[in-house]
Amino acid sequence: MSTAALDASFNLIQQLPALQVVLPMLGSVITAMVRKGAIAWFVALAVSWSMPFVAVVLLHEVLVHGTISYAMGGWEPPLGIEYRVDAANAYVLVIVSLIGAVVMPYAKRVVDADIAQENQAWFYTMYLLCLCGLLGIVITGDAFNAFVFLEISSLATYAMIAMGRDRRALVAAYQYLIMGTVGATLYVIGVGILYVMTGTLNFADLVDRLQTVENQRPVLAALSFITVGLSLKVALFPLHKWLPNAYAYAPSMATVFLASTATKVAIYLLVRFYYSIYGPNIELSGYSAGLVLVVLSLLAMFISSFVACFQQNVERMLAYSSVAQIGYITLGISFGSKLGLTGGLVHLVNHAFMKGALFMCTGAIMLRLGSVKLDDLAGIGRRMPITMAAFTLAGLSLIGVPGTVGFVSKWYLARAAFDAGQGWLVFAIMASSLLAVVYIGRIIEVAYLREPNNITDEFAKDPPLSMMIPTGILVIACFYFGINAELTAVTAERAADAFFAYFGAAGQ
């Protein structure tokens, strides 16, 4: 137990790691108690807007002063639960909380449209719990605590998806529930084996103790359990089947939020295990985990993009595209080099920006037209000019046109591929982004070059400002960080360093 704590007074900076998780939890409790949609929205907004401040200050503290360790309940690690913030998870915290902050103003109108009045407060409760869970997964330094947060966020997610527009949302939520639970359980089995072998759950402690374990076979088995379990959450091809339905039938707000954050957080955890915990102990390539990841990433990039080309529902199309984009991230991770990891992490934030913007646009279309079928979008470019302009720009970013964030990601991945002596991968990366041209191009062509039908004529117009401004912010981010990537890239590089530097940090 901490002894020096008694005399210390309340120190905000010192308490930030806890606040990052506690505030959303408190917010969710309040929203559940007030029961009024409007008030609940306001609470959720306040919490979401406070989150980026916490995350950014944490990131700043970490970059300036080094790793922060926060002992929950004053129980010192490795015995107690430790919240351990380094550049890597501070970076992900910033992404998740920023997306949450941007999404909230957007949420008001779409939630009004999608969800019955009496359920709105519950919806915001679920959103805040999900946010709490996601931030918790990222910030914690304890393998089992991560599982608990994983389940908190997942359960909230299932509930959010089930609140979708029609009955298909229920089935989508059910499928996700089954897959997600199996994934989380596999993860916890892996953690269990690790615990049996090492007697600790603390990440930093695990790093040390894994080296003293003589029998490496169970440790590898644990890694495979964790990999498969988290891959289900990541929606790594071919474990992605839950994702398209979940994204397509969830309420628009949930789609925007989940598409930009949920899978990213699972990727973070996977990287944490691969690079920080196993990294020093097991050569990634030695056990061909790297190779497997390369193959799966390539399959994701091509097959999912290809499937996306034939979708009639735009949200499903974008969902398949998400699976493909996740392939890019895992491809970056699979190189096992700092450059590749940086590329993956840069794409983590970049993809959050562009997919967030794209789903916001489809949400706006859904709001006005009640459908996102491709054929119903005919001529929408003239009726909803700003929405479609934003869609086009974000789509360009997805394709990876130079000057957008997509290009920055691709540049890193391509450089990493050359550095790893696998230049042929560059062609694969570029070829799959050409598939993005096909599916984005289809939408744009229908939207601009077809004549509007009478439904479009009557109902389509740009959404209210409260929705356009968040969309605009994300689109601008897509371009600003494409032209001046200093901030994202350098931070991602520090984050990559932090993943590698975990080893040996345990004793500090």
Binding site: K410, Y412, R415, F418, D419, V426, F427, I483, V490
Partner: protein, 485 residues
């Protein structure tokens, strides 16, 4: 007085500002077109201004603005780019005048979008012309591709959509699938992407790697339309004539060959390539394209298609010239870029003029049209003569330099290609002139000349074609400076 860097940046961004103005005043056609013309004129003045600075030895530079460590947007003025910028900005004015006549004459829809995309394309062109490294060039190369896509699809019917799809996919496939990997690879090998006289790859890459890179670059620059990736040019013929002029003369294909010359001169280095033979294959590829495209052109009856294939073959002249790999041939390449620009735009304007006035698109319908549209067809004749390469037109200059350099470099293949293709050029251009002036007019159609703006534009370019032959000073100067003499 603006400082030099500001001047350069302002020049590059000017068309974008113009586009913004056009978007704001889209409802008022007169103001919108006024903005177009004003922007075009200011742009030309600015480019001339920059030219003066360049000649005075104070080449403006802007940047580098770092995107990432080692990846920067950087502009600098160098002679070849200067030439390209001069051509493009001059022709934009003329093309704008012509567009106004054409768009109003044919009562086209979506005119605001047309003018905006046009201005954005010019933004791309300026960026390409003044790019100081490969990344910047690639960035604006893609801007140009994307900005021209709506222009090609302008008519929004099935045919236009199909053509535009092919256009976009082919250009993006090549640029992303081949050019970008080549750029990344170059960067990985050389550690830099700056255009440097003498090249940056020497000592960093083996001849084999260089050959592979060369293949990637040459086919990656789809805009240069080296066979077999020339399909997008005929496909893009569905676009309105001013757009075709933009594609063929002002911007797109010029950007392609400009990039080719730039890569050969500043990335590989002429001397390096001449020494290690990594670029020898290019001579064959370009020669093949020249001949085959000419042969195809002879068989086309659609006037614009014939012009399109003529463009394919003429572009490969430039590549051929660059592939001869001597300083004089490089001068020839640069001159031919200029010559082809003015001549081809004349030809396209003429084709558009015929379409506007007589609604005819096939060559077989043109019997005796020369007497009804004398100005148009005279201009057409001037353009055609220039394409064949006869004095007193601009086309002669480029061909002269190419031939002499080919002879002196003992590249007899190139010599034969040039001679043969000149014959073929004659074979597909002369019959048109012959029909127009010497055959009896068809009974159909009672029409006069095209609207006045079109005639102004067309006369201007035809005159330009001749003037460029008589006073090649500026172009020649710049070309010489490029090779460092």
């Amino acid at each position: 007085m603006m400082d030099l860097n500001g001047l350069l940046l302002f020049t590059i961004l000017l068309p974008l500002v113009g586009a913004l103005g056009m978007a704001l005043f889209g409802r008022y056609p007169n103001i919108r077109e006024g903005i177009t013309l004003t922007t075009a004129i200011i742009l030309l003045l600015q480019v001339i201004n920059i030219y003066d600075y360049l000649m005075a030895g104070r080449a403006p530079e802007a940047g580098p603005f770092e995107v990432l460590p080692g990846l920067a947007i950087h502009f600098a003025v160098e002679p070849l780019g200067m030439l390209f910028a001069l051509i493009a900005s001059t022709l934009w004015i003329i093309n704008s005048i012509y567009s106004i006549g054409y768009m109003r004459g044919n009562d086209e829809s979506r005119q605001t979008q047309f003018y905006i995309c046009f201005a954005v394309s010019l933004f791309g062109v300026m960026g390409i012309a003044f790019a100081a490294n490969l990344f910047t060039l690639f960035l604006f190369y893609e801007v140009l591709t994307l900005a021209t896509y709506p222009l090609v699809a302008h008519k929004a019917n099935e045919e236009a959509k199909k053509g535009a799809r092919l256009y976009l996919m082919l250009l993006l496939c090549t640029s992303m699938g081949l050019l970008l990997p080549a750029i990344v690879w170059t960067n990985a090998l050389a550690g830099t992407m700056d255009f440097t006289p003498g090249g940056i790859l020497e000592g960093n890459a083996s001849p084999l790697v260089m050959t592979v890179l060369m293949v990637l670059f040459m086919f990656g620059i789809g805009k240069a339309a080296l066979m077999p990736i020339h399909f997008w040019l005929p496909a893009a013929m569905v676009a309105p004539t001013p757009v075709s002029a933009l594609l063929h003369a002002v911007a797109v294909v010029k950007a392609g060959v400009f990039t080719v010359v730039k890569v050969i001169v500043y990335i590989f280095g002429i001397d390096v390539l001449a020494a290690n033979g990594a670029g020898d294959w290019l001579l064959y590829a370009a020669g093949f394209t020249v001949l085959v495209a000419s042969l195809v052109a002879v068989r086309q009856d659609n006037l614009k298609k014939r012009l399109a294939y003529s463009t394919v073959s003429q572009l490969s002249y430039v590549i051929l010239a660059a592939a001869i790999l001597t300083p004089i041939s490089a001068i020839g390449a640069a001159l031919h870029i200029a010559a082809h620009a003015v001549s081809k735009i004349t030809l396209f304007f003429a084709a558009g003029s015929i379409y506007t006035a007589a609604h005819k698109t096939e060559i077989s319908q043109l019997n005796g049209i020369g007497w009804k549209m004398p100005i148009t067809m005279t201009a057409f004749a001037v353009g055609a003569i220039s394409m064949i390469g006869l004095p007193p037109t601009a086309g002669f200059l480029g061909k002269w330099f190419m031939l002499s350099s080919a002879v002196s470099a003992d590249k007899w293949l190139a010599v034969w290609v040039i001679v043969l293709s000149t014959l073929l050029n004659t074979a597909y251009f002369l019959p048109i002139i012959y029909r127009a002036f010497l055959l009896k007019p068809d009974v159909t159609g009672d029409h006069g000349e095209a609207p006045l703006p079109i005639l102004i534009a067309i006369s201007a370019t035809a005159t330009g074609t001749v003037l460029l032959f008589l006073f090649p000073g500026v172009a020649f100067d710049l070309a010489e400076r490029m090779v460092g003499r």
